[in-house]
């Protein structure tokens, strides 16, 4: 059951306040989705993304700018490749969809490629929904939606998403297409990058499912998406179907959990605001008022990571050395606590973590001493 209207409005209002006056909400882009997957338990990331705060601007304002940037070479190459894939009314793209996902269908000799231009994200979302409905009225035809816009309800406010393409099959089902510029070399591709693409596509699938649910009969959104990459060392397109059922299930659950941001927002001090316009110390205090669960994996996923890392190191958190470090430390969470326990200065020797630490310290010392001799 959706939350009562008034509560949803109140939350939206509260999130707008957190963003700061006149600061537009940032769309939930691929990076935010990556951060969600890399650290779903982080309250700081949850509230900032939920409120649509521009974390890159925030990080710069905090004095710990993010290190993400894109080389113009990569950008040029990526755009050129996407244009090539979609050339001729998407003939090659549709051929790949047919070959990899829907061989029993009629080959796409010609396809409908509706114009999706409209004003603003809301307008484009409506336009996309309209064209999807329209496609349902053309059974037996292939339809290619080039850069459609989808909205996904994230914690009560809409996040806008822009897949590279969505294809409507002759049987009325929908396929998400992801076009990436990493190569498909001898049939395999960088698994980390494919994983990220699959998680991104899973979000698009969820958003499409919401659109589909509003149609009667509801079209099927396929759970195998098409990943299109350059083949080997060329810029010729090659494609592979990717089963995203797992990613879809995990992301769906994580997105429903984002409703927690209501609780997080409520726990924030009155007047908290994350606007990059604020003085650095005020901003720091605001950010510190939400707990973060920093881990080194954040460095490749979240704009705020350098800030959180500095804080994590300051407090001596052992997780700044990696999540697995905690595994055998039980309730000990700081560097000094662990070292004190290992040296025998603190800790209950009956605690197996403390006992193991002392044994480890003794064995290590014995080995180093013997090696010096």
């Amino acid at each position: 059951m959706p939350p009562p209207r008034t509560r949803g409005t109140a939350l939206r209002h509260r999130l707008a306040e957190l963003r700061g006056p006149d600061v537009p909400a940032k769309a939930l882009d691929a990076r935010a989705l990556a951060a969600l997957a890399a650290n779903p338990g982080c309250a700081r990331r949850a509230i900032l993304d939920g409120a649509g705060v521009n974390k890159a601007a925030l990080a710069s304002a905090l004095g710990s700018p993010s290190a993400f940037g894109q080389s113009q070479f990569a950008l040029t190459r990526g755009n050129a490749f996407e244009a090539k894939v979609k050339a001729d009314g998407g003939a090659e793209l549709l051929r790949l969809v047919h070959e990899k996902l829907d061989r029993s269908a009629e080959p796409p000799a010609e396809a409908r490629v509706p114009d999706l231009t409209a004003t603003g994200p809301q307008g484009r979302t409506a336009r996309t929904a309209l064209e999807l409905r329209e496609a349902a009225a053309h059974p037996g035809a292939w339809t290619l939606l080039d850069h459609p816009m989808l909205a996904l309800d994230v914690a009560g406010s809409p996040a806008f998403l822009e897949p590279d393409a969505v294809v409507v099959h002759p049987d009325g089902s929908w396929t998400v297409v992801e076009i990436k510029s990493f190569p498909l070399l001898d049939g395999s591709a960088d698994p980390a990058k494919v994983g990220a693409a699959a998680r991104q596509a899973a979000v698009y699938v969820l958003a499409l499912e919401e659109v589909a649910a509003r149609l009667d009969p509801s079209p099927r959104v396929r759970h195998r998406i098409l990943l299109v990459c350059p083949r080997d060392f060329s810029n010729l397109p090659a494609a592979s179907a990717v089963d995203i059922r797992k990613q879809r299930a995990v992301t769906a659950r994580q997105l429903t959990r984002l409703t927690r941001i209501e609780d997080i927002a409520e726990a924030l001090p009155e007047g908290t605001c994350f606007s990059p316009e604020l003085p650095a110390d005020e901003l720091t205090a605001a950010v510190e008022s939400v707990p973060a669960t920093y881990a080194p994996e954040c460095l490749s996923a979240c704009e705020l990571a350098f800030h959180c890392r500095a804080r994590s190191r300051e407090t001596g958190a052992v997780t700044s050395l990696g999540r697995p470090v905690r595994a055998e430390l039980g309730g000990l969470t700081t560097v000094e606590d662990v070292l004190a326990a290992a040296r025998g200065e603190a800790g209950d020797p009956a605690d197996p973590a403390v006992a193991a630490l002392r044994r480890a310290a003794a064995l290590r010392a014995e080995a180093l001493e013997a090696a010096c001799r």
Binding site: A67, G69, Q70, S71, Q72, F73, A74, L75, T76, R77, G78, S181, F182, P183, L185, D186, G187, P230, D232, F233, S234, N235, L236, P296, E297, L299, S300, F306, R313, G316, V318, S320, L321, G322, P324, V325, A327, E328, L329, V335, E336, V338, L339, A342, A356, L357, R359, A360, A361, L363, R364, E366, A367, L368, A370, A371
Partner: protein, 530 residues
């Protein structure tokens, strides 16, 4: 992560300096390694931008592709790379010693010893980080199927003569690097990370500059401060003062410095092509040379700091004494190198795109065996590694408190002495668990007989290496008061079963792969960028 290495990292945090993770060096280092510091162009698969390469720390060879999209310039780069790498490789291929190898006689099917050549030493390629190893593989893959004009006069874009051969060698180096404990191709970050524990995560250790900052911080800085500087410090132009070890470049470098320089180069080249007379051409050639030099300077400026760091890493590693089993593993590398040399000499085709079922299974079996071997040897060579195994219950050390002579039953009773060891370790011993200790470099086995109720004492029965007589040979049984260390893991690895030949691949695995065909070169189209 074992608790001992966790502790080392935490101590590094607390002391501001990396702590030892090993007391000896576990990888072979060549006296004359070939260091390779490559850079690539963002957004394209393995498209080289440039590299520093060479065996002389003071005289690296700079190779640059001034316009990475130009196929001819790329080929020129690869040809130059071949001119550096192949003579280096050939120098090792030429010096051989006689060695014995067991082979199956094709006529009798019996295992017989044959005398063969073994290269006396092998080349060693060092790259800054794991990305460098991936690039070596990628370059190998991109070159080994290329055809030269000599091989195929019809080839639309023939490769320079030695480029396919370089591809085969780089492929071999890249493939060998997947074998645990091998040293033909090493990433400096991996080797340093094996020997030191820093106060940062293993992810952050992938940054060569930050890793070295912890191991060998500059005067007056803690490891943490120096590492942070290496990671993030930028100059007035917004460029990282410690450029990433590559092969990827910093986007700020691409956008602010490299792209404009390449654009100037392109313009100069277009202008030169449009020159109408010799004089104009001379002028414009000068402009082109200047533009090219500018790109070369840029590439040098981004690779030279990393080049220095790789050599600094080598210096640090050379200070550690070499582990006792390192040479044995290097001999396996020499065999691997000799084997590939022989395949090339025999005119065999390049390595296929993908392994067949039997090759894949054989490689996996080899690597699993090498992994087990590496783990055992590192523990035997290094007390600190052994400490980790003792902590996890896979080994124990202590003092012999009692030795009772005993014999097995049989026609000719053999000695099976019972040895009591006092230990503070807590090995995972069960009924008749086999344990091993190193006796003159060979494993001696014993079995667990029992323990005292409250732990602390372990009784073992020694099973072998005591000679053929009724009395054990002197020194073959531990004596009272002697310090001993037993492991629950075996010291030597048994060879696995022989798999069928590829042409005998069974129906469960798709049957024989068929005649090996020469793999076609990648199709080249006019619009391709590589």
């Amino acid at each position: 992560m074992s608790l001992i290495s966790t502790l080392a990292r935490l101590e590094a945090v607390s002391t501001g300096r990396a702590q030892p993770a090993a007391t000896v060096r576990h990888r072979h280092l060549s006296d004359r390694p070939l260091v390779f510091v490559p850079l690539t162009t963002a957004g394209e698969a393995g498209a080289p931008l440039g590299a520093l390469v060479g065996t002389d720390r003071d005289a690296p060879r700079l190779l640059v592709v001034p316009q990475p999209r130009d196929r001819d310039l790329r080929f020129a780069f690869l040809a130059e790379l071949a001119d550096v790498v192949l003579p280096y490789v050939d120098a090792f291929a030429e010096v051989v010693e006689a060695a014995e190898r067991t082979e199956t006689d094709p006529e009798t099917g019996k295992r017989v010893k044959v005398e063969v050549d073994l290269c006396a030493d092998a080349p060693q390629l060092i790259v800054p980080s794991r990305g460098g190893i991936d690039l070596v593989r990628l370059l190998g893959r991109s070159m080994r199927f290329r055809r030269t004009a000599e091989q195929d006069p019809e080839a639309p874009y023939p490769a320079p003569p030695r480029v396919p051969l370089l591809g085969r060698w780089l492929t071999h180096f890249g493939e060998r690097a997947r074998v645990p404990g091998s040293s033909l191709l090493l990433a400096m970050t991996d080797v340093l990370g094996r020997h030191w524990a820093t106060g940062q995560s293993t992810l952050e250790d992938q940054h060569l500059g930050a890793l070295l900052a912890w191991i060998d911080p500059p005067e007056g800085l803690t490891g943490a401060e120096a590492a942070l500087r290496a990671e993030l410090e930028r100059d007035a132009q917004g460029q990282l003062t410690c450029p990433p070890a590559g092969p990827a470049t910093d986007p700020a470098f691409d956008n602010k410095l490299l792209a404009p320089a390449i654009e100037r180069y392109d313009r100069a080249r277009t202008a030169l092509a449009a020159a109408e007379d010799g004089l104009e051409a001379d002028d414009r050639l000068g402009a082109l040379t200047a533009a090219e030099r500018e790109i070369r300077d840029l590439v040098r400026s981004r690779t030279l700091p990393t080049w220095e760091k790789v050599w600094q890493g080598l210096d640090l590693l050379r200070e550690l004494p070499e582990g006792a089993h390192v040479e044995e593993r290097w001999t396996r590398d020499r065999w691997s190198f000799t084997g590939h040399r022989d395949r090339v000499l025999a005119g065999e085709p390049p390595q296929p795109r993908r392994d067949d079922a039997v090759t894949a299974a054989n490689k996996l079996a080899t690597r699993e065996r090498e992994q087990a071997r590496l783990e055992a040897q590192e523990a035997l060579d290094d007390l600190l590694v052994m400490a980790g195994r003792r902590l996890s219950g896979e080994a124990f050390a202590g003092e012999v408190t009692d030795v009772v002579m005993a014999y097995n039953e049989g026609k000719r009773p053999s000695p099976r002495p019972l040895v009591t060891v006092r230990t503070d370790d807590r090995p995972h011993l069960g009924e008749r668990t086999k344990v091993y200790r190193s006796l003159g470099g060979k494993p001696q086995s014993a079995e667990f007989v029992g323990a005292e109720e409250d732990g602390g004492y372990v009784v073992l029965r020694i099973l072998d290496k005591m000679g053929r007589g009724k009395e054990p040979e002197p020194g073959s049984v531990p004596e009272k008061g002697e310090r001993v260390c037993f492991t629950l893991f075996e010291h030597e690895q048994r060879g696995g079963a022989k798999l069928p030949d590829p042409e005998e691949t069974p129906w469960t695995h798709g049957g024989p792969p068929g005649e090996a065909t020469l793999e076609a070169a990648d199709p080249v189209t006019a619009e391709d960028l590589l």
